[in-house]
């Protein structure tokens, strides 16, 4: 872009939490989007009418989710937004019924032996 004074090095031109209307916590209470929580588009929840009402960042996230199931961390990286911002935006999408979010592996219960063995074999096969 010739003649423009800003470029990638100038950093974001919009303050991150301006995209969330100043909110720093996801709307639906009790929801904590773990970094590895997986987000999928709810096939019943989206129609183009309601989607048109969403902001550009919301739509960008939906687009990313549609291409493949993604973790919160991947979404943040791909959308180039801070994780905190992505969490708020995902909260909106969840509330609007646009996406579903899986709980990651429950922390208190380590996956059973069978899964660990599968992981080890999978790593060996890489």
């Amino acid at each position: 872009m010739d003649g423009q004074w800003y470029d990638a090095d100038a950093g974001p031109l919009v303050r991150p939490y301006a995209m969330t209307g100043g909110r720093t916590k996801p709307g639906p209470h009790g929801v904590r989007f773990d970094l590895i929580a997986l987000v999928v588009v709810d096939p019943e929840g989206t129609d183009s009418d309601t989607e048109a009402l969403l902001g550009p960042e919301h739509r960008a996230l939906l687009r990313l989710c549609r291409s493949e199931t993604q973790s919160v961390a991947e979404l943040a990286a791909d959308a180039d937004l801070p994780v905190g911002v992505v969490r708020v935006l995902l909260g909106d999408l969840l509330e609007g019924g646009h996406v579903k979010v899986s709980r990651p592996v429950p922390p208190a219960q380590l996956p059973d032996e069978r899964i660990l063995r599968e992981v080890i074999e999978g790593l060996r096969a890489l």
């Binding site: 950093g11 991150p16 939490y17 639906p28 209470h29 009790g30 929801v31 773990d34 970094l35 590895i36 929580a37 997986l38 999928v40 709810d42 019943e44 929840g45 199931t69 973790s71 961390a73 991947e74 943040a76 990286a77 791909d78 801070p82 994780v83 905190g84 911002v85 969840l94 509330e95 609007g96 019924g97 579903k100 979010v101 899986s102 709980r103 990651p104 592996v105 429950p106 922390p107 208190a108 219960q109 380590l110 996956p111 059973d112 032996e113 069978r114 899964i115 660990l116 599968e118 992981v119 080890i120 999978g122 790593l123 060996r124 890489l126």
Partner: protein, 242 residues
């Protein structure tokens, strides 16, 4: 609106149930963990039943965390940035350290797909130990951690070792063998770090995929053993009191 109301509401009891199960499963451990996963989203499609496991890669600045993640990850290391509160800026002294801005902290991460519906996520923890709040979030629910060490600056990994020991998160120490560093045996490193007995120490080359794989395999094996041992520990006192 029923559906969206369900989402958040579902999650709260689920989490509670999972915690309880984890605390008191005892002998039924395998079965309970199994059904726990299935219970998460009854009637939902396969995608939501997907499992994601988290492994942390910690260690001092420049020890090779990003390199290790990149060597084993199927995606190029992605960086994700977490906005810092202004409280962080006051103590932020980036003078001459790096080119990062004062308001964001980067976390590297990578992914290994074991099979459809089972993936391993690797997170490189921020090198500066003042970002404890991020460590807390990262370590929540983590399967285990790899602490990368450089024998020329062994003290750089002390905070990580302390952190995981205190929180009882299973970890292995992987000594990244830089070519110009004097070679020490795993035993020497273990002693120098004053590790708890049993904590595996291995030598690795963070640039090498096979070497990185080996480190992860050792960690998963070790994490499995640690968790099994804890379960047995928690069962025994009850058996005695009967």
């Amino acid at each position: 609106m029923g559906r969206h109301d369900e989402g958040p509401a579902d999650r709260v009891p689920d989490t509670d149930a999972a915690d309880t199960r984890g605390a008191d499963t005892g002998a039924g451990y395998t079965g309970a963990a199994d059904s726990g996963v299935a219970d998460t989203d009854p009637g939902d499609d396969g995608e939501l039943a997907a499992l994601a496991l988290k492994i942390l890669v910690a260690g001092g600045f420049g020890v090779g965390k990003t390199t290790l993640v990149g060597a084993v990850s199927e995606i190029r290391p992605l960086r994700t940035e977490e906005a810092l509160s202004e409280a962080g800026e006051l103590v932020d002294d980036t003078g001459g350290v790096d080119q990062k801005t004062t308001t964001t902290v980067a976390m590297d991460f990578g992914r290994i797909t074991i099979r459809s519906g089972l993936s391993l996520y690797l997170f490189g923890t921020p090198g500066q130990d003042r970002f404890w709040f991020l460590w807390d979030e990262l370590s929540q629910g983590a399967l285990g951690a790899v602490v990368l060490a450089d024998t020329r600056r062994l003290e750089d990994c002390f905070p990580a070792v302390d952190y995981f020991e205190h929180r009882r998160i299973p970890f292995v120490v992987a000594v990244n063998c830089f070519s110009d560093a004097r070679r020490y045996g795993a035993h020497d490193v273990s002693r120098a770090l004053d590790l708890n007995q049993g904590t595996p120490v291995l030598l690795c080359d963070a640039r090498d995929k096979d070497s990185g794989k080996e480190v992860l395999i050792r960690l998963v094996e070790y994490a499995g053993r640690v968790h099994t041992a804890r379960l047995l520990d928690s069962v025994e006192p009850r058996a005695d009191s009967v």
